[in-house]
């Protein structure tokens, strides 16, 4: 739903660029991946782009987002450069973690990305701690803990909700609920709706995670609440995973039918822009082309960057 957002050209265009950057970036991984130039397990964001883009549109570089294993979309939405991310996938020194991290461990302090975790769940608590630090330091800084529906299974989710509520920690819990934990359906891994449970601890917003305007609006309200009250909030976004949990193949689970027209955050926004007369098809195609060139540059940058020096192996430890 787009109510409450005044869809201006500037806003729409900014969001569309980010959505497309993520989508097109990931789509370029697909053909390259089987050639083993990226030796790192990837969890693609395709289909879910609206969530990071809608939320991160409110954030400044010094606002923080903590991520789990599905990193690319959030990292790009938060401002990481494509070259830096691509080079990390290629395992090069110019990667955001100089090749030491891989796809699941991306960081970019200058853009508010303090790192990510391949283990599910634990990073929820990190966001709470970072927000606590912001409060203790009386800093004007927003902090988001981003996680999937599967992560809500974990005890650390419960403990984090309770702690944040008890101690008035100004953090946004952001659930990117794609209805799946690997190949398990949500109803098979969660008996109750964690969004409902969270409601006993803090105010909860829900958004359509395939609609960037819906996400952006709800996130805006949640952030306003956090700022106004100093209390935590949770934003639950139902979205759709198009690809297999890991790797570059399209998902084929019977329980996860994907309609690439109706479920597409990019189509939705483009349609809205077109019908509001805020964009033309030609402009959109041009944007796509621009982004494609940026990705070309990122790939070239990655390919031409040196590999890390094995002599540095046991440093920073």
């Amino acid at each position: 739903m787009m109510t409450g957002n005044t869809l201006t050209r500037e806003l729409g265009w900014r969001l569309l660029r980010k959505l497309r950057e993520i989508r097109q970036f990931e789509e370029r991984i697909i053909p390259v991946y089987p050639t083993d130039v990226m030796v790192t397990p990837v969890h693609l964001h395709i289909g879910q782009e609206a969530v990071p883009v809608g939320v991160c549109d409110h954030l400044r570089p010094h606002d923080l987002v903590f991520i789990g294993h599905r990193t690319h979309g959030v990292a790009l939405a938060k401002g990481m450069s494509m070259g830096s991310l691509m080079a990390e996938l290629y395992g090069r020194t110019t990667g955001c973690a100089q090749g030491f991290g891989g796809s699941m461990h991306v960081c970019d302090p200058a853009n508010g990305l303090p790192g990510s975790s391949a283990l599910v769940g634990g990073s929820i608590a990190l966001g709470v701690g970072a927000a606590l630090a912001a409060r203790l330091g009386k800093r004007d800084q927003l902090v988001v803990s981003c996680f999937g529906d599967g992560a809500a299974d974990a005890g650390v989710f419960w403990e984090s909700l309770n702690f944040a509520a008890l101690k008035s920690v100004p953090v946004l819990f952001l659930c990117e609920d794609n209805g799946l934990s690997n190949v398990m359906r949500k109803e098979d891994h969660l008996h109750a709706d964690p969004g409902v449970v969270a409601g006993h601890f803090m105010q909860v917003w829900r958004a359509d995670g395939t609609d960037v305007l819906s996400v952006r609006e709800a996130a805006g309200e949640a952030f306003a609440h956090i700022r106004a009250t100093g209390r935590p909030a949770l934003l639950w976004c139902a979205t759709k995973r198009w690809m297999k949990h890991q790797g570059v193949e399209a998902d084929d689970l019977a329980c996860n039918p994907v309609d690439r027209e109706k479920d597409c955050p990019i189509r939705k926004l483009e349609q809205a822009l077109l019908s509001a007369g805020l964009a033309t098809q030609a402009e959109i195609e041009q944007l796509g082309g621009e982004i494609e060139s940026e990705i070309d540059a990122a790939i070239m940058f990655a390919e031409q960057s040196p590999f890390p020096d094995p002599g540095m192996l046991a440093t920073e430890v």
Binding site: P41, G102, S181, P310
Partner: protein
């Protein structure tokens, strides 16, 4: 369920016989254990999905005794323990050993200690299976081994099999055992093949084997490191004895000491963190009990003192391999290093 009739262990088949993979040997052990004893069941995240724990849980005769679980490793490990305390023989499964760290409270505080705290009035027949092994750019959180960490904790037995014959016999022994067993399977061994009897059999937990006889140097290695060492040694045709203890705990000290007394040299190849680990333990045991037989100082070959990096070139440098093992052995034999 007379597990006692499997007390007689088969000798390792001398080639011939039925050749199957490491993965299928585990699968068969699980299948046979479940058929043989209705108390045996499996539980864990992704234990029941279509991938079947890298194929090791597919086509079981009793799928109704395989229970999938949410991402709740801590509770699920406790649930497995609770089932063991109430008469079942659970196989608790973790697709990566790293996930087991989430359940460390259960493993160290509960599973390892319950039998002792109840003065043996309650048995704890639980097997905790965890898949280990370097990933493929998986990085620091998805590539750990942790065998030494578990072996540090009194009350746990720790098994690290290296070949299809052993994995079946050791797994069945673990299920049969009334003490908790941590069973660590290296993912890179899954496709390896070997001769495996079709019948059920158990190998004693705590008895190692001489994987290759030799006279000039004893190499103690476990799991994938056994295979890599054998490749290193046979490729270079070195006169080296390779000991596969099979279990980090109980440790077959006598086998190791006997070999070192003969060869006078020890190298421990342990694919794990170096400090306070299994390699240190083996060196300490030999230094305590066979020092006078040593012709040169003991040596360890482990991961570097660092987490795992992601990039392929770094991974290559991080992990020991047959070449680097052969080089180290040669250096030791040359007295150079």
């Amino acid at each position: 369920m007379p597990w006692s009739r499997f007390d007689q262990s088969h000798a390792a088949p001398e080639g011939g016989g039925r050749i199957i993979t490491f993965k299928d040997a585990i699968r068969e052990a699980i299948d046979q254990a479940m058929i043989h004893d209705p108390r045996v069941f499996a539980i864990g995240l992704d234990a029941d999905d279509k991938f079947g724990v890298f194929g090791s849980m597919l086509n079981l005769a009793h799928p109704e005794r395989v229970i999938g679980a949410p991402i709740s490793e801590n509770a699920v490990t406790g649930i497995a323990l609770g089932a063991a305390l109430n008469g079942l023989r659970p196989i608790c499964i973790h697709l990566r050993v790293d996930f087991l760290l989430v359940a460390m409270d259960q493993v160290v505080n509960y599973i390892a200690k319950w039998r002792y705290m109840t003065r043996g009035r309650i048995k704890v027949p639980i097997v905790v299976r965890a898949v280990i092994g370097r990933g493929w750019g998986c990085g620091a959180q998805h590539s750990q081994s942790l065998g030494g960490l578990f072996a540090h904790i009194p009350g746990l037995k720790v098994v690290m099999p290296s070949n299809p014959y052993d994995v079946k016999g050791l797994f069945l022994a673990a299920v049969k055992d009334d003490w908790p067993v941590i069973f660590l399977e290296h993912r890179w061994l899954y496709k390896n093949t070997g001769s495996v009897p079709e019948d059920m059999y158990v190998l004693p937990l705590g008895k190692g084997r001489i994987a290759r006889a030799g006279n000039k140097l004893t190499v103690v290695a476990t799991s994938l490191a056994v295979i890599d060492t054998l490749n290193a040694v046979s490729g270079a045709n070195l006169d080296v004895e390779v000991i596969d203890p099979r279990c980090l705990k109980p440790l077959d000290e006598e086998l190791i000491l006997t070999s070192v007394r003969k060869t006078g040299r020890l190298l421990v190849v342990d694919y794990d963190f170096p400090a306070c680990g299994f390699a240190a333990e083996v060196c300490a045991v030999v230094a305590e009990k066979a020092a006078h037989h040593l012709k040169s100082p003991v040596q360890r070959m482990t991961f570097p003192e660092s987490p795992m990096p992601a990039s392929g070139i770094l991974e290559k440098a991080y992990y020991p391999n047959p070449d680097s093992i052969a080089a180290r052995i040669r250096a030791m034999l040359d007295g150079v290093c």
